[in-house]
Each structure stands twice: as C-alpha cells, then as structure tokens.
Assembly symmetry: C5
Homo-oligomer: 83 residues x 5
C-alpha cells in the first residue's frame, strides 16, 4: 500500500456509470506524482493516507462493483514524508 | 487511477477478437509516456481523463469480456497538468 | 495497454507446462526495456504492437489457462515511437 | 516478490473496516521508497522481509477478506542490501 | 513477463504457511533491481529466466494456493542482457 497526500477533490461531469456515487480525490506522492482514488473515509486536503490498489481497491470502496483500482484505506495519524 | 491526456485514436487492423468493437485511444502522461486505453465515454484529443487499470478495466469497458487492462473512467472537467 | 516493438522470438527449452504451446516474443519499449509476451496474432520483428497485461492477458492468449501476464493484443498499422 | 526493510508500525485511527484487526508496518526499499504492508509474521523494525503483492496479498494475510495489496511473506534470515 | 537472472537461493526460516514447500530464488534485473520468485523449474545461479507475475504466478507455481506474485516460467536457452 502506498502513502500519499490528499490534494483536492476531482470533478468529472462525464464518467462511466460504475463510479457514479463515489467521491474522487487527487492524491500526490512524496515525489510529486498524482493519482486519483476513491475516498470512503472522508479524507481532507493535506491529510496523509495509505491507499489500497488492485482488486482489493474495489472491496475497499465498500462495494465490489465500484470500478476503481485505487481506494483510500485510512488516514495516517501523523506522518513526516521525508523522515 | 492515473490522469492522462488523449492524444489520438489507434488503428489496428489486425487484433485479437476480444477487443474488436471497442474504440482505442493513445493517451500520454504528464511525463510523456504513452499508453493505449479502451474509451467507453467518447473522449477527444486534448481531453484530460482518468483511467482505470487491472481487472476493473474490463468491467469499466462495459463488458467484462473486453480484454483490456486500461479503460477511460471519465473526462476531467478542468485540469492543469503542472499545478 | 503498452506500445512495444517486437524484437525476436524467445527460445526456452525448459519451461513450465502452462505455456508449452504458445509463441513467445521479446518486445522492447521506446526506452529500451525488454519484456516477454505471448503472441496470438503472428507479429514479426520490427512490428509495433500493443500489449494486454494482468489477468486479461490470459484471456487474450485465447485460453484462460495459458500462464502469461503479457499478451500481444494487436499490430498497430503505423506508429512513430518518438512522435 | 520484493525485498524490503521494516521501518516502523503505522498508526491509523480512522480506517476502512476491511483492515481493522491487522498490524500495519511501514517498509522501506533499498532505494528509500516507503510502502505499507500487513504483517502476519511479527516482523520487527530493522528486519529484512519479502512481500507478496496483488490478490495473493489477501490470501497471505491469512484471510482473503483482509483488504490489502501488500503482505509480508517472511523474514529473511540474513540479507545484505547492497551486495 | 520480465527477463531476470538467478542470483541465489533465499533462506527464510520464518514465513507464512502459504509458501512453505516452495523454493525461493533471488533474481536480479539488467538494471540491478532484485526480486524474489518461486522456482518450479530448477533454475541455477547465473541462468537467465523469464518470470510470470500477478495471479498467473500462483497457477505457474503448479498450485493456485501457493501465495506468490512472481514465478519463474522458464529458463532462456541463450541470452545477452545488453544486446
């Protein structure tokens, strides 16, 4: 599982039906690479989270039919990215 | 899920039967790396999209039997790649 | 799906039984990285192809029991790698 | 499977229910990249371990319903990272 | 599938039960990155092999219940890594 920081919400008016009711977040890695994840835990910009990828991401979204490959698994209580 | 920009359609006269009726797009990452995805949403060159990978990509294509590992999940309303 | 160029066939006298009757190809990315894929379409050295990875690669090989993680999905009609 | 070194435990008060009872560890690769894994073997900071990823990680955690994509598979008896 | 060279066996006295009876090998890529794979073909140090990843790796190990994400698929008859 990766450790990423929440940057913002992602707005997509036009998307596939398999993701319609989920919240999407843009996450950024320590090296600056950005990815999109489903957020079932209510993370806010600035939070450090860990993410679940692959088929587990669908279960982690709370519903196997949510078509995601990356889901936030939890908010890390405290994290120093360059420790 | 990754954030990529649509570059062009991809033409393959000779391909496996599992992808025959889908539209393929060449996508480019912010770092210039190019990949091919199935497009079920009708994205146009220049659009920024997010993509679903892995086994979820097959469901996202609207049919689990479409043999893809990358499918466009939605068109992002506005995106600044180097924000 | 990735875009790769066929370099050569791969000869492995000693291999697991799950791949016995397939043709294997060495493919090279634009950056020079080499991978091995099952070829169900009859690609030739020099052809640019796109490849299907993950569990879809097994279906793409024409038989879910073929133990591959990378299968050629189609031959691209024309491709300029450094466009 | 990757070879990584255990750095510390990871504390997440707020997380998805699919991981509630597992121990999470922060692992570091030889190149310094950090990841989070479920630990079913009781590894300690400083131990070198190998990790199982993908859907096998869920089985490796001892319960397919644990929503992980990375699980410690074993503690390596002796390891020189820059050998 | 990747092309890697066998470096050595890997000894882990303490590991998860799902891998107990398999042989583990440390493999090294052309760029020096090391990974661990299950070896069902009897490869020796110095051999160049290709590896199967993902869920296919479990089947390739000869038993779907072997908890691996990387399995040696075959020994390459002759290989020049920097060709």
């Amino acid at each position: 599982m990766e450790i990423l920081q929440v940057e913002s919400a992602l707005v997509c008016t036009q998307r596939i039906s398999g993701l319609q009711t989920t919240s999407l977040r843009v996450l950024r890695s320590a090296s600056g690479r950005r990815q999109v994840a489903v957020d079932p835990v209510g993370a806010r910009p600035g939070n450090w989270v860990y993410t679940v990828s692959g088929s587990a991401a669908r279960y982690a979204a709370g519903n196997f039919e949510v078509l995601t490959d990356l889901t936030i698994g939890g908010i890390i209580d405290s994290w120093e990215p360059n420790a």
